[in-house]
């Protein structure tokens, strides 16, 4: 157990171990943002068990590991090395990041409609500085916690998506983050910015893929700004390596009548945490968050929701499901705050967990804090096993025990997978889940 000072030292050492501002001229606003972030690293509380948000999720293991920020590619990757990870880019606008850096030559389908900016944030510093000056760190992510501050201090590259008013993107955008093995353990920190102007609409798919034994920390910050009436469908599938740490912090800001529909699937990583922070700026916005996680031996998977209804008439729906099949741990901490003036808020939060083994652990903590009196809010959480009556029913029809369990698990997860409106991703998710469940059920008694 290290001291708090040592723990903070881990963050500050990383934040000053590389100076991205030295790699090219930088605008003042970005320098200032970095300064603010480095200041925050000196002041923000160190995540530990005493902080409510980190009560069930230890970062001890992470802090014992040394990382090198991957600000430049240590090497070039050949087409042959990367291609097998990617698969066909059918009917999507695709962008590929390797260890946090955008690889422009792997982008496909980028003859974009007018009004759409999609590409590397780094590149946009040269081509579109005004856009970045307006929006980057608009949500004040660096003040939220040390990891977001660390990401902000070292902002280097990431996804930039900007869609002009009333433009509807015809195809999904697929962003693939490949985290590949290098001689050092890397700190990969994509910094993403997504801005949809009024009435714009898009579908964004993010895939996180890790090479089998690669040791790295993927510490991503995504800011999402939905202006009036904008619509974003945002699907995320996390398949990081079993030796990796993965933290995705999503900061969502929604204007009136905007609609965000998010589905996050968390399969990989030894330590994986996804945080959603949602803020309604104006009335009649809708936010739907769905999530599915599987937890096997030695894995920790954590979902953190921080939804704040501070204006009237907004709707939020949160549905998260977990399947635990090995000695591991899941954490679900869903907090919805309805402020006094947020009348007619409609918020519903659910978390259901299916435990296939006894020695898995789940800490589920749904929290509704309501200060308004005319609202519709509910929350519910369950932790259960497969129902022996259901297994018997299937077996009595000739289906063997393994298959019966598998069908029931897939049935349990189906509700979440079905929220993905991109058929190819739904298939990929189903394939990954089926393989995971297959291994899981075969090792059960």
């Amino acid at each position: 157990m290290s001291t708090l000072t040592e723990q903070r030292g881990w963050f500050s050492a990383l934040a000053s171990s590389s100076e991205p501002e030295q790699s090219g001229p930088e605008p003042d606003w970005l320098r200032n943002t970095r300064v603010l972030a480095r200041d925050a690293i000196r002041e923000l509380p160190v995540p530990n068990r005493k902080l409510e948000a980190w009560r069930y999720t230890s970062i001890e293991g992470l802090l014992q590991q040394e990382f090198t920020p991957a600000v430049e590619q240590g090497r070039t990757w050949t087409h042959e090395e990367l291609e097998p990870w990617l698969g066909p880019a059918a009917d999507v606008y695709r962008l590929v990041f390797v260890n946090g850096q955008c690889i422009p030559r792997l982008a496909t389908g980028l003859e974009l409609p007018t009004g759409v900016t999609l590409g590397s944030l780094r590149a946009a510093l040269g081509t579109d500085p005004k856009l970045l000056a307006t929006w980057l760190n608009h949500t004040g992510a660096h003040e939220e916690h040390l990891f977001s501050a660390l990401n902000t201090a070292l902002i280097h590259d990431g996804l930039l998506l900007h869609i002009a008013a009333d433009v509807e993107l015809d195809r999904p955008i697929e962003v693939v983050y490949l985290n590949l093995e290098q001689d050092k353990a890397l700190l990969n920190q994509p910094r993403n910015l997504v801005v949809l102007e009024p009435g714009a609409s898009a579908t964004l798919v993010e895939r996180f893929i890790g090479a089998e034994e690669a040791v790295y920390f993927h510490n991503q910050v995504t800011e999402l700004v939905l202006q009036e009436g904008a619509e974003l469908r945002h699907y995320r599938m996390q398949e990081e390596s079993r030796a990796s740490w993965h933290l995705a912090s999503l900061y969502l800001s929604q204007d009136a009548h905007s609609r965000y529909q998010g589905t996050s699937l968390s399969f990989g990583g030894r330590w994986a945490r996804t945080e959603y922070q949602a803020r309604f700026q104006h009335e009649a916005a809708q936010c739907e968050l769905n999530g599915l996680y599987t937890v096997g031996k030695g894995q920790l998977t954590d979902f953190h929701l921080d939804i704040r209804h501070s204006v009237p008439n907004c709707t939020s729906r949160e549905r998260f499901k977990g399947i635990l099949f090995g000695k591991g741990r899941a954490v679900f901490d869903g907090r919805i705050l309805v402020e006094k003036q947020a009348q007619k808020s409609d918020a519903q939060l659910r978390n259901d967990n299916l435990m296939l083994v006894r020695d898995a652990e789940v800490d589920t903590k749904p929290q509704l804090e309501i200060h308004a009196d005319d609202v519709q809010c509910s929350h519910g959480t369950t932790v259960g096993q497969l129902d022996p009556q259901q297994v018997f029913y299937l077996r009595s029809r000739g289906i063997d025990t393994d298959s019966a369990r598998r069908m029931l698990c897939l049935g349990f997860a189906g509700e979440i997978i079905d929220t993905i409106e991109v058929p190819i991703l739904r298939e990929q998710a189903m394939e990954r889940l089926t393989a995971t469940i297959r291994t899981a059920t075969e090792t059960l008694e």
Binding site: L394, R395, S396, R397, G398, M407, G411
Partner: protein, 250 residues
């Protein structure tokens, strides 16, 4: 085909079947009647191999094979089908997918080729039509939100698809109105063949007006106290079960 000799079985330390004997020949329909709690569902569960039941005596042979030594799914592969008194709901499991999986699991186990998707669809829709089961229910999750009658029809649909050698129908008639009872009975009658046997578990004589049994047995206190033909059912309807228990005690 099915031979049950002196069967003792129970659950949670409680012996429920107390020396039960039953012989079923190919093509026969046997009705088992009895008051609530007499062990009818227990018998059906023990035959299907549900977990939790302990057999403490006797034996069950199916085509000469020791049925009790087989796993639940193996019994299904041999042709045993249980229409359940309380069919469970399977959230997230599509009814059609489930039925195809079940059929193919049985076919694989018997070394038969799997049914192709088109042939399967055609058949399942045809059978659903015979049973007046709304086609929409095939697309829903198994039994999820089905009415009592729809669940029972879905059981008979599975029987029709799986073509068992021995079907045990546990109170398939309970909770059905007269029209549904007729449809289900017609469905079961259509499935009667010279080598398919049926055990009809029921509470009421009513069902036996629609499905004519070859034999009627009265199960009381875990034993078959009396066997006869369908006139026995009428007698029970008239006099209740009390007189049989009294006679047996005498």
């Amino acid at each position: 085909m099915l031979s049950i000799k002196d069967l003792y079985a129970g659950i949670d330390g409680k012996t429920i079947l107390q020396g039960l004997n039953l012989e079923v020949a190919p093509g026969e329909v046997h009705a088992i009647m009895g008051p609530n709690g007499s062990g009818k569902s227990t018998l059906s569960h023990v035959l299907a191999g549900r977990d939790g039941y302990e057999v403490t005596g006797g034996q069950v042979r199916f085509d000469g094979e020791d049925l009790l030594a087989l796993a639940t799914e193996e019994r299904a592969h041999r042709g045993i089908f249980l229409g359940m008194q309380y069919p469970v709901e399977l959230p997230g499991v599509n009814n059609m997918t489930f039925m195809r999986e079940a059929m193919n699991a049985n076919r694989r186990a018997r070394g038969e080729p799997e049914l192709d998707a088109v042939a399967f669809m055609k058949r399942v829709k045809e059978e659903a039509r015979h049973l007046k089961l709304d086609e929409q229910l095939l697309k829903r999750n198994v039994n999820s939100g089905f009415s009592g009658g729809e669940k029972k029809r879905n059981e008979i649909l599975q029987m029709a698809m799986l073509e068992p050698r021995l079907a045990i129908l546990d109170e398939t008639d309970s909770g059905l109105d007269i029209d549904a009872l007729r449809v289900i009975s017609d469905g079961v009658n259509a499935l009667r063949t010279p080598d398919r046997s049926i055990i009809l578990i029921t509470h009421y004589q009513r069902l036996l007006e629609y499905i004519q049994p070859d034999h009627v047995h009265v199960l009381v206190g875990g034993r078959i106290l009396r066997s006869g033909d369908k006139d026995l059912a009428l007698e029970l309807e008239e006099k209740g079960y009390g007189w049989i228990e009294e006679e047996a005690a005498a």
